[in-house]
Symmetry: C2
Subunit: 255 residues, 2 copies
DNA sequence: CGCAGCATTGACGCCTGTCAATTTGAGTGG
DNA sequence: CCACTCAAATTGACAGGCGTCAATGCTGCG
């Protein structure tokens, strides 16, 4: 659905600038807590994005951090010699731009994969707000810590799992991410080409395709009639388990 | 050289608790700046370590961050199913324990590879000090950002480079790290077994051994008479360049 | 309708993992 | 000082997983 909020809202100071697109059934909502913590304590530029929009352009001077409030993003890294990679995916509640703090320049592109909305925060203002609000500082640190932890988990996966397990884990993590944000997890829409998935997982697009076919044969996933980018996961626990097996044996779940 | 400072010094409030083991020739010393920023603003437990000592035990409750003031550390991650990996190395000025902030428990072990010294900081006190000292908060954020950036660089390397290039890059990064801290970079002492290097780089110990042999044949490194763990690097720039080549061709530098 | 991008599938080859034998080196005790 | 022991490292042979190349199918769009 196209967003009607084209002109960015400046200087939002109400305690809740934008209603969350999804509200979990229970009262526990860490994303909303963080967003309401931000709102009212510093100037927030609410920014709508469309698929393909780039937020943190690699090489550009660092100045803002972004919190995803809706939609999903891919973060792509690029080496001097042209090697590049989709290094991470971000969903609602995730932060973009941490990589720019150290060097003063963004190191990655963050590209929207869908219509969405981010909250742009000036880093200097955020730091000031953190000084006044320990809770906010703790939240920012928690997010950076999470980013570190996820990167390490990813590295472990890339270095110790065979191709098919990596794909399974990738799908399982994506689905679990959505589930943790109150969205349905049994069906996910990949907004990446096979080549991008391969770059993220350290394999070729052909291997991604073959791995997916193998997972389909093993009844761990299914393609829907909505296209080859929509994947139905009948049993997330089984997929997760397979995604942690170092032997790519998919003998389980006979037809 | 063995450390004589066995009993930890508690509550150091002088503006420089321990003299840096190495002082760079020029006045520019970011590590020393950070350390003097810390000293005097919160309680610091100076802690001596020996090879094998573990600082952040994976699974233990999080409470402290550690700044390396001397020596070198390896950080090892371990999955539930037993897969494990050396995920990072740390030298003077690097921080340990960031991974514990988000979950409240350390996710990795940090093991000393040598005699060394760390400054242990209670996280809660650090946060308070950060509130009062924007410079300190900026420094902490810079370090976390660096950790994120390094993890992404590592992932790019693991996913896009052949085995020999990964080993070359590993050695080049290590040497460059030492050089940036004022130590000599032309000779490095690996304090890891081939198996540990392999786990860090996503390959087997045999491949590490073969890659090193290949680099020796290509005159990019040399073993010294001090053993096969000490590596002499005649031309760091050449090694770095080779560590970024996606073709493992080592035809350069004929004898 | 034809084109272009994306995805699938097969054939083939190479890089690297696996297995095994051997050598080197460090630590220990006689 | 030397023999002994064991972990670490090297090296070779072999095989398998995955990359490479190529052909084909599918889908959306001008």
């Amino acid at each position: 659905m196209p967003s009607s909020n084209l002109s960015p809202l400046h200087l939002v100071h109400s305690n809740r600038a934008a209603p969350p697109p999804f509200s979990p059934g229970r009262g526990f909502d860490p994303v909303g807590d963080m967003l309401s913590l931000l709102a009212g304590r510093l100037a927030i530029r609410v920014q709508s994005v469309h698929a393909g929009d780039t937020l943190c352009c690699a090489g550009r001077p660092f100045g803002h951090l972004y919190v995803v409030n809706a939609g999903c993003f891919k973060t792509t890294s690029c080496a001097a010699d042209g090697r590049h990679q989709v290094v991470a995916l971000q969903f609602r509640g995730d932060w973009l731009g941490f990589d720019g703090i150290a060097s003063g320049r963004y190191a990655c592109d963050a590209v929207a994969m869908d219509v969405g909305e981010v909250w742009a925060l000036r880093y200097e203002e955020l730091m000031q707000a953190c000084s006044c609000t320990p809770e906010l500082m703790a939240g920012v640190h928690r997010e950076m810590s999470l980013a570190i932890q996820r990167a390490r988990d990813a590295m472990l996966s890339r270095c110790t799992l065979p191709a098919t397990s990596r794909v399974a884990e990738f799908l399982a993590v994506w689905a679990t991410s959505l589930a943790g944000r109150g969205q349905r997890a049994e069906q996910i829409t990949l907004r990446l080409t096979r080549a991008e998935i391969g770059s993220h997982l350290g394999m070729t697009l052909e291997s991604v395709s073959r791995s997916l076919a193998s997972l389909v044969r093993g009844r761990l996933i299914r393609f829907t009639e909505q296209g080859r980018r929509v994947i139905y996961i009948p049993d997330l626990a089984a997929l997760t388990a397979f995604g942690q097996s170092v032997t790519g044996d998919i003998s389980s779940r006979a037809p």
